[in-house]
Amino acid sequence: MTRPGTTPRPAAAPPAHRTRSWRRRRAGRRLGGLAADLLIAAVALGPILWGLSTSLKPASEILAYPPELVPSRPTLEHYALLFTTGIHRFVLNSAVVSVVAVLLSLAIGSLAAYALARLRFRGKTALLFGVVALMSIPLPSVLVPTFTLLTSVGLADSLTGLALLYTAYQLPIVVWLLYGYFGSLPIELEQAARIDGCSRIETLRKVVLPLSGPGLVAAGLFVLTFAWNDFVVAVVMVSSESVKTLPVAIYGYLGFYGRDWGPLTASAMLSILPVIAVFLLFQRYFLSGMTGGSIKG
């Protein structure tokens, strides 16, 4: 087990106390460490893998006792059922709302973040604190009034309303991440562009944004996963079949399919497989984003 602050031991001839029993103890500790890692992974991934396994079993074997951990006769029947009942529409709705929210929040967010990072103006400190405060407002606490408001302006129950809400909810984290990122870019490049006659907006578009790939990716991923995963906001705002997002549809299946766990776990897998793929590809951006929101790591 490694302890905080342990510096790597210099490679030297083993000292006298590294006897056989020392080596055995070390091997034992490694084995213990491996067992602990396996246990952690089993707890973290177990429910997902068990859901995957269930979704691939024929209906007759899902409730078999004792349960099979790995389906012996895997089938895609539950996935096929979902597609014949039109799940692709909900997937499409989720994808459209997520992409629109990502584009909107990156556009608005990078403008604001650039101003906060590079321009001097009155009220900047207050704005920065506002951004941090907004990052910690929990969604459920504003749901009821938001629904009240959206209904009165006719934006409830529409994909437009959802995309706008997701944008507003994720903008603070986007601004915060980009603010940190823009601030860390060398300012000389921007000064050079200014001297060459670029306006502020041209400097942002032609110099800052092209250099900010990783920052934009981190911020975009946050919006994307939030909008794709969100259930609470969507279930409240949306009621028509045609504008349901995937999580709302899955919640609906819970009532419709009852204890029919085949289609239920299959729909769960459809929702999380894209997320896991994106996460594994870009996980270091997620990490930098998460710590950026709390402490710099």
Partner: protein, 311 residues
């Protein structure tokens, strides 16, 4: 590295000391740039809150304000048994979830601190429950905890409890709800604490070792005191999350049995979107929001201090 640090310091001063106010083209441009952000937040966060506060003072029938009630809705809400029960449920849920989430997060952070290849993978694995949708996570746990899955029978059968249903008994249903929170949110605690651990200079441990301090001594005398701010940040942010969360209870237990797991978030949802008692729902939402404001204030204070932790 040192260049980065210089910028860091400059930013930090920027946070504390506002630049001198002046009317300049730069300020005008700046306000133009932040305007869309301000408008979005005013329209979709501030305006709803203001409207909610207004609605909370009325009797509302299907979104029609019918009768001014003053603080009547607040009184109705605070004296209703459902809300009182939900406060107890929320308190229990948040306390246990916080305890186990931060504890497990700390254990994971200590274990996975060194940047080895295995640890990098393990961190990613631990984070998976956190990045997938809460709805889907709760759904998968509900499947595991249901008697249909056969897993509980397999695990508890040898103890003569094959017929036991976790979600049918108030105490174990609450335990299931807490486990849902711990399963998902320990990763968040781990990441925050990990960032804090990385900021502790290694020499401190080396010096303590030379002075003969054992692992426990080093943990309690160096790690814990220096992690105070990150721990508080994790606690405050998780507390905000737990007090408000409704997905876990809605999907995993549905608030049952006997409302034992009906948290305040779920009560608010029921009041507003199942019973359509919009006036009372807004009153409860605002009460919860006031608690959140206090926590957000704490978060801001800690956040300022947390920034000075950056390496």
């Amino acid at each position: 590295m040192s260049g980065e640090r210089a910028i860091e310091t400059k930013e930090r001063q920027g946070l504390r000391r506002p630049p001198k106010a002046r009317r300049s083209p730069e300020a005008a441009t700046a306000w133009g740039f932040v305007l869309p952000l301000v408008v979005a937040e005013l329209a979709f966060v501030a305006a709803p809150l203001a409207l909610g506060a207004w609605y909370s003072l009325f009797r509302v029938d299907y979104f029609e304000l019918t009768q001014f009630r003053g603080l009547g809705n607040y009184w109705t809400v605070l004296t209703s048994t459902m809300v009182q029960q939900s406060l107890v449920a929320t308190l229990l849920f948040s306390a246990f979830s916080l305890l186990f989430t931060v504890g497990l997060g700390m254990a994971l952070a200590l274990r996975l601190e060194a940047d080895t290849r295995t640890n990098t993978w393990m961190r990613a694995i631990v984070l998976v429950p956190y990045v997938i949708s809460m709805l889907v996570g709760s759904l998968l746990l509900r499947w595991i905890y249901s008697r249909d899955a056969g897993l509980s029978g397999l695990l508890l059968g040898p103890f003569g409890l094959a017929d036991f249903s976790l979600l049918a008994d108030p105490a174990t249903a609450m335990a299931a709800l807490v486990s849902n929170a711990v399963w998902r949110d320990s990763a968040f605690a781990m990441i925050v604490l990990l960032a804090g651990l990385k900021a502790i200079p290694g020499q401190l441990y080396a010096a303590a070792r030379v002075d003969g301090a054992g692992p426990w001594m080093r943990f309690t005398r160096i790690t814990l005191p220096l992690l105070r701010v990150p721990i508080l940040i994790a606690v405050v942010r998780l507390l905000i999350h737990f007090v408000n969360v409704l997905t876990f209870a809605l999907v995993l237990t549905g608030g049952g049995p006997n409302n034992a797991t009906q948290t305040t978030g779920l009560a608010m949802y029921r009041l507003g979107f199942v019973d359509f008692r919009i006036g009372e729902a807004n009153a409860l939402a605002l009460l919860v929001f006031v608690f959140n404001l206090i926590m957000i204030g704490a978060n801001l204070v800690l956040f300022r201090r947390g920034r000075s932790l950056s390496p």
